[in-house]
């Protein structure tokens, strides 16, 4: 098991390197992107070229990648021309908020999804199952920005139950939770829908297995039988949870924008509008690294719980 963990960790390293290369290529390959701040239209071609060269933009690619990488690792994520601040500084305040939102949404969504999936899986074909199926389909199909706007208009607009935006931390638990509710609801509804589907399918498969019959024949109560079933059914749910968390981190751009949540998503949204590429690059790096880490943890936990997975880990 230890060897497996180490192997899985080592496997992540080329992935992380690849991720950094992709980020670098996306944001830095076109010279116009990075030099946008130093250059203006009044310069001549020669002056533009000289300015680009002073920023190292015409060095060979591997050299540029290496200098970029070393800067990133030492904490320098570039400078945002539009906000006149270091990117690292901007992100440093924001990423905590984003992660809070993403993790809470994921937890709520996965738990709700598991409950719904369990409920549907054990009442196959009946009314409850059909309702959950419809709910899952809706969650799977709905664009999160639409859902967010709907929730916002209904609960914050018409009913004035929850704030229309912003994160209220530091004032007290009550307002903090109230400000979380709607954004979390948006993200977690989608997650719950997808998780419910996976859980339902898994429960149906497990409940049909022979060993369930054996347990019943042994005289276990239906409730105890189901407990055993659930333990076996959660494995695929674990896998999707990691993916869902990544999806939430990615979709944070949209959700945060709608709810004016002060996280990386809002930063990214504004950066898109103003073509502030260093900010986009910074948040992309953080989210991608986090996603790799999350998948790593999910894989290891899954191998620890379920011995069948261990052989297929790599």
């Amino acid at each position: 098991m230890v060897r497996l963990t180490v192997r899985r960790l080592l496997y992540s390293i080329p992935i992380l390197i690849g991720v950094s290369v992709i980020c670098f290529l996306l944001m830095n390959v076109l010279p116009g992107n990075a030099a946008a701040g130093l250059i203006n239209d009044q310069m001549t071609e020669k002056e533009k070229y000289a300015a680009e060269q002073s920023m190292g933009l015409h060095d060979p690619l591997p050299v540029r990648y290496w200098s970029w990488l070393t800067k990133i690792l030492s904490g320098d994520m570039g400078f945002s021309q539009q906000r006149h601040r270091d990117v690292a500084e901007l992100l440093g305040q924001a990423w905590v908020n984003t992660f809070i939102l993403a993790i809470v949404s994921a937890v709520v969504g996965v738990v709700a999804g598991m409950l719904l999936g369990y409920y549907a899986g054990t009442r196959r074909g009946r009314w409850a199952d059909k309702v959950v199926s419809i709910f899952s389909l809706a969650g799977l199909s709905i664009p999160s920005f639409f859902l967010g706007i709907v929730l916002l208009s209904i609960f914050a607009g018409e009913m004035r139950l929850f704030p229309a935006g912003g994160a209220e931390f530091g004032v007290g638990i009550g307002p903090a939770i109230r400000s979380l509710v709607l954004p979390v609801a948006t993200g977690s509804l989608v997650t719950a829908g997808i998780t419910a589907r996976v859980m339902r399918a898994s429960m149906v498969d497990v409940m049909a297995a022979d060993f369930i019959e054996t347990l019943r024949a042994k005289g276990l109560s239906e409730w105890e039988v189901r407990k055993h079933a659930v333990r076996n059914a959660v494995a695929p749910v674990l896998t999707t949870s990691g993916v869902q968390l990544g999806y939430l981190l990615g979709g944070a751009v949209v959700v945060e924008t709608i709810f004016r949540w002060p996280g990386m998503g809002t930063l990214t949204y504004n950066a898109i509008a103003s073509r502030d590429l260093p900010v986009i690059q910074g948040s992309m790096l953080i989210v991608a690294f986090a996603f790799v880490l999350i998948n790593l943890i999910v894989d290891i936990v899954q191998a620890a719980i379920d011995p069948r997975v261990r052989g297929t880990l790599l």
């Binding site: 690849g18 996306l26 990615g250 989210v287």
Partner: protein
């Protein structure tokens, strides 16, 4: 040196009947023991098609999509107004309020019905083009990786893993932002994001097929690897890939809608549904229905794509 005795099976080995009896027996066996009575050849896609048509929900969903496609196609002829121009004083009219604008107008006074119809084109393009591109590219990558094995497989699949390490929406945003906002770039970004999962499905399906003996038999016939791939492998992995790709259509549409919501898709005044939702959302308190309309269309179309894809998956399920 003594010759090796050459042995042959004795005549009538396995039966003591005469040759005439055996012939008669064979004739009777063929007549009565045929595996299929009627014995007409059955093609696979016909079977699948039949089963698909039995699924009413799937058929309904497909019909809606066809309806949408039809409306989008003939939009220039049936749209009541020009979707790109509007009169500012007519802005945000409620639906069913005036005869001129059945579904109301947007924040710049443009007719919503027309914009929805024209927007349908963009939506369908954004749904199908990246899916087709990703399917072709991803299948090629997956099959090549498995067939060539070795370092080619490692490099290709690790490359896919690296792309997979980004949440899809985020990668699409990054690619779009880097290339610049436009419809074409949004399509490219969505395609790139969709390639790794298709490659994975193709790779695992190919792995299951490539060990089968009929592939070995094809190699024995002297066929080149390319010919083996096209004649033996592709027809047998196509099933899995098509089923997965059908699910990808809905996802692709949502990613593209998200991109256009963020302003990374076609530039205004193009009637992209996602962009429309964003540009109207500040007016939600005064014109809720108008704002909801494009969002609801996205939702409805996505639901139909998913239903159709589910029906297709069920239809292909127990066939081999």
């Amino acid at each position: 040196m003594s010759e090796i005795v050459v042995r042959r099976l004795p005549a009538g080995f396995g039966s003591s009947a005469s040759a005439a009896d055996r012939k008669a027996g064979q004739r009777l066996a063929r007549k009565f023991l045929a595996v299929d009575d009627g014995a007409r050849p059955q093609a696979f896609w016909k079977e699948t098609g039949k089963r698909f048509l039995e699924n009413k929900v799937g058929v309904g969903a497909t019909l809606f999509i066809l309806l949408l496609a039809g409306a989008a196609l003939i939009a220039p002829w049936i749209a009541p107004h020009d979707p790109l121009t509007g009169v500012a004083t007519d802005r945000l009219q409620a639906p069913f309020s005036s005869g001129a604008h059945i579904l109301g107008t947007d924040e710049q006074g443009r007719d919503l019905l027309s914009r929805i119809m024209y927007g349908g084109r963009l939506t369908l393009i954004a749904a199908f083009v990246p899916t087709i591109a990703a399917t072709v590219i991803g299948t090629a990558i997956g099959i090549t990786a498995t067939m060539m094995g070795g370092w080619v497989q490692t490099v290709l699949m690790r490359g896919m893993d690296m792309l997979y390490a980004f949440p899809a929406v985020l990668l699409a945003i990054a690619v779009s932002a880097s290339l610049g906002p436009s419809l074409a770039n949004a399509l490219i970004a969505t395609s790139i994001v969709s390639v790794p999962p298709v490659a994975r499905v193709a790779e695992s399906a190919t792995r299951r097929v490539v060990t089968k003996e009929y592939v070995e038999a094809a190699k024995l016939s002297g066929a080149s690897p390319v010919k083996v791939a096209t004649s033996q492998i592709i027809p047998n992995v196509l099933n899995d890939i098509v089923v997965y790709a059908s699910g990808l259509v809905g996802v692709s549409m949502l990613i593209a809608a998200s991109l256009s919501f963020l302003g990374l898709g076609a530039l205004p005044p193009a009637p992209e549904w996602g962009f429309m939702l964003n540009s109207m959302r500040n007016s939600i308190s005064i014109a809720m229905f108008n704002v909801m309309l494009p969002g609801f269309m996205i939702f409805l179309t996505s639901v139909c794509f998913n239903l159709a894809s589910d029906a297709l998956r069920e239809a292909t399920d127990s066939r081999l």
